[in-house]
């Protein structure tokens, strides 16, 4: 039903009509029931462009209510332009409280990062996903990759990781690092750095992944095992820095590098702005 408090009653609460929300919730329930499986859904055109978070926005719009508190981050930061834009969108169409605090958020929508502050039970993290299919760059055809998932035929992925080792002496994949969910489906964790992969494993929070352009939703329910692919003699490892954050001194967070003068002088700071600010 149109909500008179939103844009003069021209739009429904949280923008999507109730039938669409129901359709998306069904897809989410199926996704939760089959962790890591990509559920096709009737993605709608959103008033923000494809590739800018429409999948995440649709998932958030389908689950958000007035008593929620929303946090939106892009690259770990609350104040990057697209995060600001999406937060403004929900503040406007869902009349919802927003926050930059990871702890206070009931729903966190994210692009490219998992917050440094550990998530807890009852929280939901919504990932914006550009290409949901982890095998896509190895096999461009959807009809093929669907069959490969159905048969758990993942040799092609193992071979690609092996080739990387043969060529570079290590697995050179750095972000969107493939994971095995619940021992069944290989899943794209979205383009988060592999640094964040361990946070997905047995997380107490519910992880929802929305791909708007590709019209797929998938999920990792709380406490589900999520294993980053590797080999016994080349175990999975994450990035590390010799520097620490120039603002808060953190040595355990993901650091962004900045060029601060014409001579190319570098400076490192936390990518997670909430984490960094609380430590200062």
């Amino acid at each position: 039903m149109p909500d008179s408090s939103i844009e003069g009653g021209a739009y429904n609460y949280a923008y999507l009509d109730e039938q669409t929300k129901r359709m998306i919730r069904r897809a989410i329930l199926k996704a939760v029931a089959v962790p890591g499986y990509q559920v096709p859904f009737g993605g709608r055109e959103m008033p923000l462009p494809y590739g800018w978070g429409t999948g995440g926005i649709q998932v958030t719009a389908a689950i958000i209510g007035r008593d929620d508190t929303l946090k939106v981050i892009d690259q770990g930061a609350d104040d990057t332009t697209n995060a600001v834009s999406i937060r403004r969108f929900f503040a406007k169409v869902a009349d919802v409280a927003t926050t930059t605090s990871t702890e206070k958020a009931t729903i966190t929508q994210t692009r490219h990062r998992v917050p440094e502050t550990p998530l807890r039970e009852g929280q939901i993290i919504v990932f914006q996903v550009p290409i949901p299919e982890p095998l896509r760059m190895l096999e461009p055809r959807e009809t093929e990759t669907r069959t490969l998932h159905a048969l758990s035929e993942y040799g092609v992925m193992q071979v690609s990781l092996y080739e990387s080792i043969a060529r570079f002496g290590r697995i050179a994949k750095t972000y969107n690092y493939p994971v095995m969910v619940n021992d069944r489906y290989i899943m794209s964790p979205s383009p988060i750095p592999k640094f964040d992969n361990p946070k997905l494993d047995r997380s107490p929070a519910l992880q929802l992944y929305g791909a708007g352009r590709e019209k797929r939703i998938y999920a990792v329910p709380p406490y589900t095992p999520v294993k980053s692919l590797d080999f016994d003699d080349h175990p999975f490892e994450v990035e590390s820095w010799t520097e620490c954050c120039a603002l808060c001194g953190s040595r355990e967070s993901f650091l962004d590098e900045m060029i601060v003068d014409d001579a190319g002088k570098r400076m490192f700071i936390c990518s997670d702005t909430d984490w960094c600010e609380r430590r200062r």
Binding site: Q75, P193, R213, W241
Partner: protein, 369 residues
């Protein structure tokens, strides 16, 4: 010292003001009205309605105005509005033989029942800039012949079909069956022909034009002829549940293209001509023809032809035809990618270091020999 990309909120607010200002341009120049866009940029309106999948001239004109004439942006605006509209049912299929044609031509026969009607077309204009348009001034009305609205015009294809020379129209959704709707459900592959045609109708004109062109240059050629192109108004009928019979609810302009293509025949079928179909809102012959070429190319598998060219590849064509999707994903590269890039930096540095060390060791070994 360090200046972070902060203050996004204020920056966005200012950016919105700036783009609104740019849109209006010099205030000394009169503002465009929606009626002017509708009447004088009518073909732009047609394209936005077609690819925006929404027949509403006023809304399309508004979108064009708001997008400053960027048609892909206007299509996006119209789509984002359309998606919020409630659906109250499916219309009765359009009957284009009842079209009141403004233009109707065939490339296959010199004369056809009902005749060839050249109508308004740029085809035979000489592309010389008409400087008289730079000045304002009224133009005389063009003379028109009286329209016989009672005359039904049979399709050229139907006449060929009667002799068995042309295949019957490929099976769509059958009568009474609810039409699938690409805007409500995800595309699954292989797609039915109705879904394929929906996808092509919404598809980017430039993309389809290039693909159609590629078939003519040998990438999946099937020797097309324009069986017929017709443009004009057709009534839209709808059966309300409470009435149980069809009532006319609108008249819309459409362009329809029936492409006739060669077919060598297969095991079970003797040689005959096959069809490719294109339909667009308003007057859009380039789009309707390109669509018909690609529709036919996509039927390769069904007709047991080898499918080795891009235009014959269903997944390739259907997954990349939508300009709203394509535009969004290409342009999302403008968004920050600091984090992924940082991960790549860390790895590339490490890899370079390893190579350097290896080279240094090799040089030392060589010096020692």
């Amino acid at each position: 010292m360090y200046v972070a990309v902060k203050g996004g909120e204020t920056a966005i607010a200012h950016s919105l003001d700036l783009i609104a200002d740019k849109r209006r341009g010099d205030r000394a120049v009169a503002e465009l009205s929606l009626e002017q866009i509708d009447q004088q940029l009518g073909l732009a309106v047609d394209r936005v309605m077609t690819e925006g999948s929404c027949y509403d001239r006023a809304l399309a004109a508004l979108a064009i105005k708001q997008a400053r004439g960027d048609l892909v942006e206007a299509i996006f605006l119209l789509r984002a509005y359309r998606t919020t509209l409630p659906r109250f049912g499916d219309s009765v299929p359009l009957d284009t033989t009842s079209m009141i044609v403004e233009r109707r031509i065939s490339g296959t026969f010199k004369d056809i029942p009902g005749g060839q009607v050249l109508g308004p077309t740029y085809d035979y204009t000489h592309r010389l800039l008409d400087f008289s348009l730079a000045a304002s001034g009224e133009r005389p009305q063009a003379p028109t012949a009286p329209v016989d609205s009672a005359q039904a015009l049979p399709r050229v294809g139907d006449i060929l079909e009667r002799d068995g020379l042309l295949e019957p129209p490929p099976q769509g959704s059958s009568e009474g069956e609810k039409a699938e709707d690409l805007t409500r459900q995800p595309l699954t592959l292989p797609a039915s022909r109705p879904l394929r045609l929906q996808n092509l109708a919404r598809g980017d004109e430039g993309f389809l034009l290039a693909l159609g062109y590629s078939t003519q240059r040998g990438y999946g050629n099937n020797h097309p002829f324009v069986g017929e192109i017709r443009f004009g108004g057709v009534p839209v009928s709808f059966v309300p549940e409470e009435l149980g019979f069809a009532i006319e609810i609108a008249d819309i302009d459409v362009t329809e293209c029936d492409m006739v293509n060669q077919f060598a025949g297969s095991h079970d079928v003797p040689p005959q001509f096959t069809r490719g179909y294109g339909l667009a809102f308003g007057h859009a012959e380039r789009k309707a023809m390109a669509m018909a070429l690609v529709d036919r190319a996509l039927r390769a598998e069904e007709l047991s032809e080898s499918a080795s060219s891009p235009a014959q590849d269903e997944e390739f064509v259907l997954a990349h035809s939508d300009n709203v999707e394509a535009s969004g994903f290409v342009q999302h590269l403008k968004l920050p990618h600091y984090v992924d890039f940082q991960s790549e930096l860390v790895t590339v540095r490490a890899l370079r270091q390893e190579v350097e060390q290896r080279n240094r060791r090799a040089a030392l070994d060589q010096a020692a020999e």
